[in-house]
Symmetry: C2
Subunit: 145 residues, 2 copies
């Protein structure tokens, strides 16, 4: 088979501060994809890596924060000009740490969920992910029947 | 967060014979999930494994066929009673090999695509996957504009 656009696997992490706000990073203006847009920490899975190793490496490279890979919170899929991406999103829970950006991002912010859902510069696949994430978190915090 | 149903990652493989038929396995009647239903070779990703290692191990365990992990053909997602599954499907291309089943399956068959799309005992998420797979294969075999 010779699909024109190969699939690749990426990993992303959601991290929250003590107020429950989520960490987002703004992509550099000369990024290959989504320049200047907001983003989650994360990136492409290496051939020789486990998913957990990849998410810890990407979070470390892009934020200077050390994590122990948490639970999987869900997935998003999207298309870039040359590939289709299946992205596994880890829930890293709450972190207390300084953020040290890499060259890939120009800015970071801790943003409340309500504000995330209003953001025009966050790709739609991540906005939709946060909507689902909240629905599922609410469901699971309801008392068992 | 305490989602009631955790996500797990699985890997599956599509393998074809020289006629282009796909290898399906029938799950044992005492399987925990989907007993007696048809299935693709594959299973759960181990914590310490890469995706490629996992798909090669599962195919070997369930069919006795050695593969070198191929391209990713896509993904399926589904829910089981206790978990939600994100399954990455590898395209292993054409194989010439005898199939040796494990205890997990009771039968195997090489089945043409037309027949796969008619099968009532293949879970809908795999049937839908094959539909998408075909659409994408056709697109990519069209001459470039």
């Amino acid at each position: 088979m010779n699909l024109e656009k190969p699939y690749i696997i990426s990993v992303y992490a959601i991290l929250r501060n003590e107020k429950g706000e989520f960490l987002l990073l703004r992509r550099s203006e000369n990024s290959h994809s989504n320049p200047g847009k907001w983003d989650l920490p994360g990136g492409k899975l290496g051939q020789e890596e486990t998913l957990g190793e990849a998410v810890a490496r990407e979070v470390w490279e892009e934020t200077g924060i050390s994590i122990v890979p948490g639970e999987i919170a869900g997935y998003v899929t999207f298309e870039l000009p040359e590939k289709k991406v299946i992205a596994i999103v880890y829930n890293e829970g709450y972190v207390i740490a300084d953020v040290k950006l890499s060259y890939e991002h120009t800015e970071y912010a801790w943003i409340s969920l309500d504000n995330i859902l209003e953001m025009k510069t966050l790709p739609a696949y991540f906005r939709d992910f946060f909507k689902r994430f909240i629905t599922e978190s609410k469901k699971s915090s309801e008392p068992p029947i």
